[in-house]
Amino acid sequence: MAQVVSAPAPAPQARRAQWPPVLRGFLWAAIGFVVLNTIVDIVDPFRGHPFVTGPSATLGWVGAVVGWLLGVGVWEGVALPLFGYPSRWIEPSTGWRRYFAYSTDHKVIGLQYLGSAMGGFLIAGLIAMFMRIELMSDHLTIFHYPTNYLTAVGIHGTIMMFSVANVALLGGFGNYMVPIMIGARGTAFPKLSGISAWLVPAGILSVLFSPLLGAWTTGWRGYQPLASQDPNGILFYYLGVAALTTSTFIVALNMVTTIMFRRAPGMTWGRLPLFAWGQVTVGLLVLIWIPEIQATFVMGLLEKLVPFNFFTATGSVLSYLELFWIFGHPEVYIIAVPVFALWNEIIPVMSQKSLFAREWAVIGLVFVMLLSGLVWAHHLFTNMRNSEILPFAFFTEMISIPTGFAYMAAIGTMWKGRVRLTTPMLLVLMSMFNFLIGGLTGVFLADPVVNLQLHDTFWVVGHFHYTVIGSIVFTGLAAVYYWLPKMSGRMYSEFWGKFLAITLFIFFNATFSQFFLLGLHGMNRWVPAYPAYLQPMNFEVSIISFFLGLAFAGQFVHIIWAWVKGPKAADNPWDARTPEWFTASPPPRENFPVQPEIVSSLYIYGAQQPVAVQLPAEEELAAARDESLEPEGGSPHE
């Protein structure tokens, strides 16, 4: 990509883009949809159908996504050069507009992913608020039909899982930080990565607008045969998830390849930052399991469209459940492993203490990854032959051992350290506490006979909100605060950061801890109406959850304020040792002025420790010469 950026610009002002890329994307998407939809109508042997049918919407959607991607800039950036046309496309290296177009800069891509994840979180969070309003009473109120409520549940879960939990730490901080943390000046597949970032908004919008095609009642798991019985809205669930999982797959491909082949000299596997280790292990999980769920969802889609009877009583109903959870449980660790890695990334820095038992922390990540493929059937204890239960219960219980290593390393690192209770540190500790509750309530679920009572109740809902929000949202916020000075060059307000973190922690725990009690008391899932005896507690949980919603909104307002208006931050405000802190904030286009070298461990703190990241002096001089020739190449600040 160096050529593209440093090529002399042929007067970009003269050729102003006719349309802002995102608007053009919407237009081209609409055209793509109408064209393919109409073609399907023309070849449709069954005349007299409405203009938009299940099959026509499916192929129309493919046209829409292609149009969308081309429209946001893939047309000039990739398609035209691919067919041999001279590329007139110049990637802007500054300005806010580059965040709203196709880009090959991994930092821009990372922020696009983070922005999409944040947007998805706000949308799905708002839907959760509506669900809580409904659950304030034991009968239907704001949702007039149960299908409306169940569709809301499905959209909430799907967006949260596939476009927030899978995206924030992988596509977002993975793309932005990992190349810099390993001392690379770019990623392995910048163009592919630039395309994949734009699949996330396409996926979110597909799922969000799925009710245009009809309601769907299955929740985020899309269980067959119910899904095939549902109206066509379920099609946009499958298609939206296809876009989102493809995006996650490309992120993993890019991250694993980049970490394997583009590490700086001296960045050995033994010195690799923990967060990069997390990305490698998660990347492997994604590369193994995402194709599996995509194949399953293609079968689900065809089952709905054709139909094939793969998953009805005349086929094999259980096959869908097995296929879903073979992916579904590794998915949980796709979410959690980068979180464990981040704890032990941030804690040594904030404690100014060498990472304790680093080998065990890495072993923990790797073994969680390995075991995560052996536990899926614990989601199906209510569905298995008794003889099949015990091995899955065994592996499920065993996976808590490597998970615990993350805690061991974290607690060992803080012991007698110089713990600075900054906002990111506070959020990491809160995240550890929340995930501890999530993990310990999971012990009950791992036990088969207890599971038979707790399965499909609000206990499970509480458990996975503790593990998912407790891990990825709290730690994701910690990462935002930790790297805010790096990404924006600005600092947040320590008072507001802490105040909002504590507020969030209190309301989060007050809301979701009661889910366990509701579950024990007989509250089941996917119900907009329930027996009257559960109403008082649900009412009170709803009230608290509204405050939780406000606490999240407060976080985002503060973060945006700090990003735009915060005071200027120091170059290395946390005295960290990892390479991302040894370049300008925000980092220049190629991350470092010259190729850095890593000369000692990144996690060993001490009074006489040498700086781990070196920028060789001669090359620095050479870089300075280049910079004087090409002014737009090296300027780190906007």
Partner: protein, 277 residues
């Protein structure tokens, strides 16, 4: 090194005190039944397993939570305080790592043995179809359709039992083994293969849940141990626990567990009802 040891001892003392307090609180919770209401042999088994896990997990929770809070209180740097680092930090501790790794492994092996294996084996024994009491079980055919539970009693020739309001009703004698035959299909729309979806048979007060899968017949042996009814405790209800479409929230039926004499009176009444509809 000496200061490490003192700190460690202090930590250990606080941990033991917290664990003891936690266990004391757990006794109160256990005495009041954390599952709220238990009315079957399987439910009692679940309750015991649940209680055991609570007792073992309290010190684990106390240890990790204390580790987090301890660092915040004992090791934090005050605002404006200059951070001075030693030349070298300890990067591992053979005792801490050893105890942690072996300890977590042991706790998990304990859970695998008890309650996981013991309770599951106990459950298998309850569900074994060839035991004498199971061979003399009261058979109830449970049919799940969208969106209704239909109960029939083939031994008494009853095809669908209802209460005075015409709601499907599951009525059983106390302390007698029941064999539930679970099927998911719609007896009124047998031509439509998409009318059969996954349901889940759940009675909250029984501590048991079993998915009902189209195309499969599943059996569940259970003994109600308590005279109970939906009116007496709403956890005594048959509830569909797996989302099955728009009618899912209302796919429930009252459960009534009565004395043997009352059960036979009820059977006679249902038979009369069926003979003269």
């Amino acid at each position: 090194m000496e200061s490490h040891r003192q700190e460690g001892i202090l930590f250990g003392v606080v941990w033991i005190i917290l664990s003891a307090l936690g266990e004391w609180a757990a006794r109160i919770v256990i005495r009041h039944n954390p599952l709220y209401y238990t009315a079957s042999n399987i439910g009692l088994m679940v309750e015991h397993a649940f209680d055991f896990i609570v007792v073992v997990l309290i010190p684990v929770f106390a240890f990790v939570a204390l580790g987090i809070v301890w660092a915040m209180i004992r090791f934090h740097v005050k605002k404006g305080q200059r951070v001075e680092l030693p030349t070298q930090w300890a990067r591992t501790n053979r005792w801490f790592v050893g105890i942690w790794v072996v300890g977590t492994a042991l706790i998990n092996i304990l859970f695998v043995l008890h309650p996981t294996t013991t309770a599951t084996e106990h459950f298998f024994a309850i569900e074994n179809p060839s035991t004498p009491q199971n061979r003399h079980a009261l058979v109830v055919d449970v049919t799940a359709r969208q969106w209704e539970w239909i109960f029939s009693y083939p031994q008494y020739g009853l095809t669908q039992t209802v209460n005075r309001n015409g709601q499907d009703l599951l009525e059983l004698p106390v302390n007698h083994v029941v064999k539930l035959e679970l099927r998911s299909y719609d007896p009124f729309h047998t031509y439509d293969q998409y009318a059969d979806v996954i349901h889940s048979f759940w009675v909250p007060s029984w501590g048991i849940k079993e998915d009902v899968i189209p195309g499969e017949t599943r059996t569940l042996y259970i003994t109600p141990t308590r005279i109970t009814s939906y009116a007496q405790n709403p956890m005594s209800r048959v509830q569909c626990a797996e989302v099955c479409g728009p009618g899912h929230p209302w796919m429930e039926a009252p459960l009534q567990v009565v004395s043997t004499a009352a059960f036979h009176r009820w059977i006679a009444q249902q038979q009369a009802l069926q003979a003269h509809p």
